[in-house]
Symmetry: C2
Subunit: 213 residues, 2 copies
DNA sequence: CTACCGATTTGCAATGAATGAAAGTTTCTC
DNA sequence: GAGAAACTTTCATTCATTGCAAATCGGTAG
């Protein structure tokens, strides 16, 4: 795609990456509000103004990889397997997304968990994160509707995406907020998805194993 | 409760209300970013500084009634009817919440829909709104778990709340974004909740009417 | 009515994010 | 190399937000 690497490109990529890493590191050390753009810029040795030509806002640096991730999720839907039931696709989608949000990243092992903590603890970042999450959900819903055009309408698609994402998100969120380890959070998300797929109507009843036919 | 109305109290209430209304009106007329706190303050004839003693930020005015609403939702759960199935309570909860977000408000008929549009169209407000929404969901999940302590664990409660809220929210959101009228959005939300309660596993299949037993 | 206490409001100064415009540099192309 | 295109840096400005101290206001005990 954009592999064309002139010196210019490489330099830009490096600056960008440096800004991201310096930002996260400083946010971690001094706190988000306490860190000024000036300090970040100084750490990378560029002007304050340059920061804003790479990221539109202070919040934005933290979500540098959002678009990449959203694209990957959309691709899962776009590449849906022929005759695959909606529920199966949703399960795969949830699986991949959960995995990605716990492991995968363009960040070093040092910075990855650190960002998580930041987004969880800084209200402004949490808010921005949710905003991005929802915009993605909307896109996913539209994509799902497209992919299964003659099977489910837009409202159904929205219900499906919203339900699965909502359940998984809230479940992992609560788990993580209780300082449970990543694998526990992953498990919670996974279980939430299962419950949602099988229907909340069954909740609280003994344990009626969902009939497969 | 706090009905103690000295002149002081009344005056404060009036100022607060004026600030809210002036804000919404100006945000609508000039746009959110284009409206300065100074203008809002001027419109109500108080100092800029005073604005901040009523609301912690510019975004905050718009969500002045959030806490009240969240409290009402929590109360629905707290007052759960004896022996009421989880799914039934969730349905009632969704119903009341959907209704409230389309009708009810401490605002005039003129300002109510106007705020909706603002929150939908201004990224910063949308983000803040989602943040508040999620905090509420978390509280609702904890409350649900408490209310049904020996029937569902916290993850199940989170899955339930997240799924229902997620489905309803995304469905109405998409509907509203397509400029469909409020009653259509309400219907979409309602349908999304039904779908979620019955399980997404059934999606896309002919039309297997959920067995009631 | 008057003095006094505590709650509000105000004016002022400062900090820092974000943006626009113009000028200076660097990289790329021919 | 010359010039264009892409980046950066400077500089100046607007505006949200906050801390502080002085000025006001409302309630109330003499």
């Amino acid at each position: 795609m954009d592999e064309a690497s002139g010196l210019r490109e490489r330099k830009k990529r490096r600056t960008r990456q440096s800004l991201i890493e310096a930002s996260l590191r400083l946010f971690h050390e001094k706190g988000y509000d306490e860190t000024t753009i000036a300090e970040i810029a100084a750490a990378v040795d560029v002007s304050t103004r340059t920061f804003f030509s790479y990221f539109t806002s202070k919040e934005d640096v933290v979500f540098f990889d959002h678009e990449t991730r959203a694209g990957r999720a959309l691709k899962v839907i776009a590449d849906r397997r022929p005759a695959e039931p909606v529920a199966d696709l949703l399960l795969r989608l949830a699986d991949e997304t959960l995995r990605a949000s716990i492991l995968d990243s363009e960040l070093t092992a040092e910075l990855f968990p650190l960002r998580h903590r930041l987004v969880r603890s800084v209200p402004a970042l949490r808010a921005r994160g949710l905003h991005l999450l929802f915009d993605t959900q909307r896109r996913l819903a539209e994509a799902l509707h497209q992919a299964y055009a003659d099977e489910i309408d837009l409202v159904e698609a929205a219900a499906a995406v919203g339900a699965v994402a909502g359940a998984a998100h809230l479940a992992t969120l609560i788990s993580v907020d209780r300082d449970e380890p990543p694998d526990r959070a992953w498990e919670a998300g996974r279980r939430a998805v299962d419950i949602t797929l099988h229907g909340l109507a069954a909740l609280g009843r003994p344990a009626a194993p969902a009939a497969e036919g």
